[in-house]
Structure formats: structure tokens, C-alpha cells
């Protein structure tokens, strides 16, 4: 209880009091259900403590930290190029996207910029990691609600994207491809043609999932009107990414800020949904995969020639200063606040990961729902454990 804010403590005490009154009247007692850290639905080691009245949640609280790896501290004893290997593992499904904001922050401190071709390829790989990440979400959504087939379709088509990432970077899960000042390598031969075909396959996959899952009445009845987050509450809790856009807030860092990435050269739509329920969050993500495939297609057509690496010293020393760069990652806003004292490595790195903020709304949104809805709401909020416990 010591970890809770005052407001949460108040709500807990109120729920206990309500429980006690109920118990006197009906002689029932509540039940505390520990969902996690080992539970098939938490994809990792998130623990949700829920007080139940029957199957209704009276009070719920997420308990994070079972997979804390101390990345913020570890970065302080590593050099700048070494850090990317580490921060790959934060959101392990969209690894490349984790590297980009850190590298951009370091580049900002050194006052250099990657060549246009490197910026383009960065953006392509960024969107590919978004597809790899969110397509798994679309399949996983089915499993959370008992439909076993969609997840295999997701794994099948995600494989093509992982092959592309492997073809370009050499690593399927943890590319470690981004360098300060550019990229490690240029794209291999034939990669662009293959990418075009894979993007077609993924658009087919999106159609398939829309038919099989989103068009299903049971799926709709499980998600529509469940776990509604109004726009102002979403803002207060610091939600970002698709969770925020599903609440009707038109906010996308790809469009709203100018970073040395190629987003200003492509034409894409930022989808929002007015409802703010689980359905909206799922639907927004489905549309985002589609948009991502279109972005990749456009970037391939306009890929400029030239080098992929600018001139940087052999031993990178980042000058003294502080920089904050955040990007629109698959899970939401991910940012790095990098403080450098002019050494080989950063003095301090603060990592703002999307899932940690997204999951913080669970006590608010889980109040009063049924046990099965806990799972659908958590699934639709979409978090990666590595992204919660850095």
C-alpha cells in the first residue's frame, strides 16, 4: 500500500468499506485474485492484483517490476555505440524502433545529421518494426479472447517482415543496426522488390484479420463499449500512441514533430476513433499496420541515392549537453533524455517507454469490469513487458 498514491489509497479504502457493507448485508466476502506474475494472459510477468466481488472487479492495481533489468543504470557504464545493443531489448517486438530516438538524441548532441538515404532506410525499418510488432498484436488479440487461429496467421505473415529485417540488418529480433551518423550498411540487392511483395501480403493479412476477427459479432460484443477511456482521462494518465488516438485525440509524433526522418516526404493518414473503447484501440492498430505498409511502399519509390553514413570520428565522444528525443513507436511515445558530460558514454539516460504509462491507467479503467474484460482491456491496451520494466 505504501507505493500507492493518495487517490488510489482513498479508492482502495472506499472499496474496502463498500465491501464490508455488502458483507454485512449479504454475508458474502470478496476475493483477491492475483493475475500474474505467472499467468497465460499477461504476456510476461505483469501482476494485476484484483479485488473481486463475484466476477466483478472492485479494485485493481498493476504491480510491475518483476522483469526490471536496470537499463537506465546500465547505459551509464557503456559507450554510446554500445547502448543501442542494450536498448534493443526494451520493446523486443519492435526492436529497431527503440534505437532510433536514442541515436537521434546522440546525433542532436553531436550536431550531425544522417545522410538522406540513411534517414529513408531508418524510416523504412522503423515502419517494418511497427508492422512486426502490431501484426503480432492483431493475432494475439484472438488468443486473449479464445480464438486460436488468428495468432498463427499473424506469426505466418510476421515471418516475412522478420525476414526482411534480417535481410537488411542481419538480426531478426535485435538488429542493432543504427549508428550515430547513419546506418551500419546499405540495403542488400533485391531487398526492395521483396519488400514490395511482402507489403502486399501484409495488406492481405490485414484484410484476413478484419474478416475473421473484427467482423465477428462475438469479438465486437466483447470489445465494443468495454474499457472506455475518455480523451481527458487518457491525457491525464499520459497515454500515447494508438491508445490515445483511439480516445479521439489526434496526436502522432510522426506527423507532429520534425525529426531527421523521412515522414515529411510521405503521405499518410493518422487514424483516430471517437469511442475510446477496446474496439477502437484494436481497430486503430489494424489501420496503422495498413498505413505503415503504405508508408514503406512510398519510401521505397523515393529512396534517394548516396552514402548511408556521414563522417564521424572513430572514437565517438558526445559533447556536453542534454537532449530529449521521442518518436512514435509501435506502442506509443518512446523517448530518451540523454545527459552527456563529454565522455565516451552517457552520464544519465532517462527512458520514457510507452507501455509503462499506458499500463498506469489500469486501476482506473478496470474498476467495475468483469474478470473476462480484464483480459480484453489489457490486450487492447497492448503492452510489452520489457517496455514496462526497463
Amino acid at each position: 500500500m505504501t507505493m500507492l498514491s493518495e487517490r488510489q489509497q482513498m479508492s482502495y479504502i472506499a472499496s474496502q468499506a463498500a465491501d464490508a457493507r455488502l458483507n454485512v448485508e449479504l454475508e458474502t466476502e470478496g476475493m483477491t485474485l492475483n493475475i500474474g506474475p505467472q499467468h497465460p494472459a499477461t504476456h510476461g510477468t505483469l501482476r494485476i492484483i484484483a479485488r473481486l466481488d463475484g466476477e466483478q472487479v472492485v479494485w485493481a492495481e498493476p504491480s510491475a517490476g518483476y522483469m526490471h533489468r536496470g537499463y537506465e543504470k546500465l547505459t551509464e557504464v557503456r559507450t554510446f555505440p554500445q547502448v543501442t545493443a542494450l536498448i534493443n531489448r526494451i520493446d523486443w517486438l519492435g526492436s529497431f524502433a527503440n534505437e532510433v530516438p536514442f541515436i537521434l538524441a546522440a546525433e542532436q548532441l553531436m550536431d550531425i545529421e544522417a545522410p538522406p538515404r540513411a534517414q529513408h532506410i531508418r524510416t523504412i525499418l522503423f515502419e517494418l518494426s511497427r508492422i512486426a510488432n502490431v501484426s503480432l498484436f492483431l493475432g494475439d488479440l484472438g488468443v486473449q479472447m479464445g480464438a486460436v487461429t488468428p495468432v498463427f496467421m499473424a506469426f505466418r505473415d510476421r515471418e516475412y517482415v522478420l525476414n526482411l529485417i534480417e535481410g537488411a540488418t542481419g538480426g531478426r529480433f535485435h538488429p542493432n543496426f543504427d549508428r550515430i551518423g547513419g546506418l551500419k550498411d546499405d540495403l542488400p540487392k533485391g531487398w526492395l522488390d521483396e519488400t514490395r511483395q511482402v507489403m502486399k501480403k501484409l495488406r492481405n493479412f490485414c484484410d484476413e484479420i478484419e474478416d475473421l476477427l473484427f467482423g465477428n459479432e462475438i469479438f465486437q460484443s466483447r470489445t465494443r463499449g468495454i474499457g472506455v477511456i475518455p480523451a481527458d482521462v487518457a491525457r491525464q494518465y499520459g497515454l500515447s500512441g494508438a491508445n490515445l488516438r483511439a480516445s479521439g485525440v489526434d496526436w502522432d509524433l510522426r506527423r507532429d514533430q520534425s525529426l531527421p526522418l523521412a515522414y515529411d516526404k510521405v503521405d499518410f493518414r493518422v487514424w483516430t476513433h471517437p469511442d475510446g473503447d477496446s474496439w477502437a484501440r484494436c481497430w486503430i492498430r489494424l489501420q496503422e499496420v495498413r498505413e505503415a505498409t503504405k508508408i514503406v511502399d512510398q519510401l521505397i519509390e523515393t529512396l534517394p541515392p548516396g552514402p548511408v553514413m556521414t563522417k564521424v570520428p572513430r572514437i565517438i565522444k558526445v559533447p556536453e549537453g542534454e537532449a530529449w528525443v521521442s518518436t512514435e513507436n509501435p506502442l506509443g511515445e518512446m523517448g530518451y533524455y540523454v545527459v552527456s558530460k563529454g565522455d565516451l558514454g552517457p552520464f544519465r539516460v532517462k527512458i520514457r517507454s510507452a507501455s509503462f504509462n499506458n499500463i498506469s491507467i489500469t486501476p482506473w479503467v478496470l474498476k467495475g469490469v468483469y474478470v473476462p474484460d480484464i483480459i480484453t482491456i489489457l490486450a487492447s491496451l497492448y503492452f510489452i513487458l520489457g517496455d514496462i520494466d526497463r
Binding site: M31, G142, A147
Partner: protein
């Protein structure tokens, strides 16, 4: 016609019936698991399924059974040990009791029970007790939630199932399953007796309601809240391991097979082929070879029906508990009541 039953001594008949009963429960269960759970599900999910054990993985089930038998039989410390051990047996026994009334041929039947339909529907809900007991005695919160969900769900779906069958009983004029088969195969559609008169034609609504209720009764997706592996880990089976889990597992698929048998008897003409094909007038006139062909026909129909059950299971998400109750009480029960009323009126009018 010389009945086979007269040629075999009583002990021989009893032995045959016991063996037949065990076969009628375990053989379909094995077939369903291999054909649908291992293979059809895999093909739907663009993978091959088991391929190593035997040709096309056909021995996989034996390997799985062997694996389960070797596992430790864990009884949780706080569990009510006696009841905990008993629960899976109750579930499986109810399946064996259920198959007793199903006829597989003119003489290939276990008991000729005049109120067979009534008996089958009554015994079919005994498994709820096993599930409830399993959930309660495990001393696990997930098990408890699962067990209570199962109880609520099975009670809700028992009613539409019974009401759906009433239409068939009205049409056949009998509660004996054998008589229901005869009524379908010796019947005619407006004087044309080429395909007999399977009740699925007139009782299509009843058939749909029955199959939905069966799906819920079997706790298959979209009605698998009692197990709900993404919410309740494994529901009432969470604490079970090894042999006892195996019994639950067999029970699940065996019950699917037996309910499919009952559905094919009630709606699809059971073991029979239209009597007009061979000029049979009544049950006594049916040739003896139907005792061999009948079970094969039954198995085929059973596989078609379980195929549909499994197909739905592998492609649908699951309902929420309260949505399921609403569906049962607000949609299925009024619909089946209307079905009964229409059937009764037409039965009297025509």
C-alpha cells in the same frame, strides 16, 4: 428376420454391450482428437500438426497418453483430496452412462429404454456435478471461478437443449431413441420416401438450438468460459495433472462424440438408411447386416457433426459469461418455445 440377439447367450450379450459401450466412447474420442484437434486445427492454422509419431503422426495420441500416464499425480495441499480425486471420474462416468441409450443398429443397442431422450438429457447434466466439484475441491481461485461459471452455464443451456428436443419428440411421437430413428427412416416427405424423413428438415431451428446448446454443454469455444485459458489459466482443470487431467481430456472429447451421436439420432436419421430402399416395413423387417453398417453410418454422421463443433471452436472468440446467459435466456429459450408451439400446431393440423 432372425435377430442376432437371440443367438448369443445372455453373458455374451452383456459382454458385447460393455465392450461396445467402451468402444463407442473411446473410439470417437480418439478419432476426434486426432482428426480435428491435431490435424484439422493445424491445417486451418497453416501448419502440419504432429508428423513424427507414426505415419502422419497417427500414433501421436498414444504418445500423449503415455506422457500423461508418466506424470506425477499432484494433489494440492489444501485440496479436498477424496472429492478432488473423484471429480474426473464423475465426468467420464456420465459420458459412459450417456452412450447407453444410443442405438447403433436394429439390434446393436445397449438398452432399449422407452424414455431414452429423457434419460439422456438428465444424465447429460451429471457431468456438471463433476466439474463443480473439481472447481471447488481444488482450493484454487481460478478453479473456483471456472467451476462456478461451468455450473451457471450448463444450467442455462440445459433448458434450450431440452426444449429443442421436445419438437423432435412431438414429431416422432416417442421418447425412445430407436423409435425416433425408425420414424425418420420409414417416413416420407409428401408421399415421397426416397430419403425417408430426417427431422432436420422440419426441426431445423431445433437442430440449430440443440447444436448451440451442445457447444455450450461441452464448454467449447465460443462457450469455453469455464476453461478460458487466457483468463482462468485452465479453469476447473487448473490443478489437475497426469492421469486425472487425461480423464478430463478424454471426457471432453468423448462427450463431444456422444452428443454428436445423440444429435444424429434425433435429427439426422441415426443409424438408418431410408427403409424404402430395401422395402423394409418396420424395425423387425430390417436386415441383420444393418448391425454392421449402422455403426459405420453413425460414426460418419458423428464425425460430420463434431467436425462442425470443432470448426467453430477453432475460429471463434469466446463470449463473456453474462453475454452467454443473456443469449441463452433471451434468444435460445424463447426461440425453442416458439419452435415447440409451431411444431405442436402443425402436428395437430396436418
Amino acid at each position: 428376420m432372425m435377430s442376432i440377439a437371440l443367438e448369443i447367450p445372455y453373458w455374451g450379450q452383456s459382454l458385447l454391450r460393455v465392450l461396445g459401450g467402451v468402444g463407442a466412447v473411446l473410439l470417437p474420442a480418439g478419432t476426434i482428437v486426432y482428426l480435428f484437434l491435431f490435424k484439422m486445427m493445424s491445417f486451418m492454422q497453416s501448419r502440419l500438426g504432429p508428423m513424427e509419431a507414426g505415419p502422419y503422426g497417427s500414433m501421436q495420441l498414444l504418445a500423449e497418453v503415455g506422457k500423461w500416464l508418466q506424470k506425477e499425480d499432484i494433489i494440492p495441499e489444501n485440496a479436498d483430496a477424496k472429492i478432488y480425486k473423484l471429480a474426473p471420474v464423475i465426468v467420464l462416468v456420465s459420458t459412459f452412462l450417456l452412450v447407453v441409450v444410443v442405438p447403433f443398429g436394429p439390434d446393436a443397442l445397449f438398452t432399449d429404454f422407452s424414455a431414452g431422450v429423457f434419460y439422456a438429457l438428465a444424465i447429460g447434466s451429471v457431468s456438471v456435478i463433476g466439474i463443480l466439484v473439481a472447481g471447488w475441491s481444488s482450493a484454487n481461485k481460478y478453479s473456483l471461478l471456472g467451476g462456478l461459471r461451468a455450473a451457471g452455464q450448463l444450467i442455462a443451456y440445459e433448458l434450450p437443449m431440452v426444449l429443442a428436443v421436445v419438437g423432435v419428440v412431438i414429431q416422432a411421437g416417442s421418447m425412445n431413441l430407436q423409435q425416433i430413428v425408425v420414424a425418420q427412416n420409414s417416413g416420407s416427405i409428401f408421399g415421397w420416401d426416397g430419403v425417408g424423413f430426417p427431422f432436420v428438415l422440419t426441426q431445423f431451428v431445433g437442430f440449430l438450438i440443440f447444436m448451440i446448446a451442445v457447444q455450450a454443454e461441452l464448454t467449447q469455444v465460443p462457450f469455453d468460459m469455464p476453461i478460458a485459458e487466457s483468463e482462468l489459466v485452465s479453469g476447473y482443470m487448473t490443478e489437475y495433472s497426469g492421469f486425472r487431467f487425461l480423464i478430463f481430456f478424454i471426457g471432453e472429447f468423448a462427450t463431444a462424440g456422444v452428443f454428436a451421436f445423440i444429435a444424429s439420432v434425433l435429427f439426422l436419421g441415426g443409424w438408418g438408411i431410408p427403409f424404402s430402399w430395401f422395402g423394409w416395413e418396420s424395425l423387425e423387417a430390417v436386415d441383420g447386416w444393418m448391425n454392421i453398417v449402422g455403426p459405420v453410418i453413425m460414426l460418419t454422421k458423428m464425425l460430420v457433426l463434431t467436425g462442425i463443433i470443432m470448426w467453430v471452436r477453432f475460429s471463434y472468440p469466446r463470449f463473456r459469461e453474462d453475454q452467454l446467459q443473456r443469449f441463452a435466456w433471451k434468444v435460445l429459450i424463447p426461440l425453442s418455445l416458439a419452435n415447440i408451439a409451431v411444431t405442436a400446431i402443425l402436428k395437430v393440423a396436418i
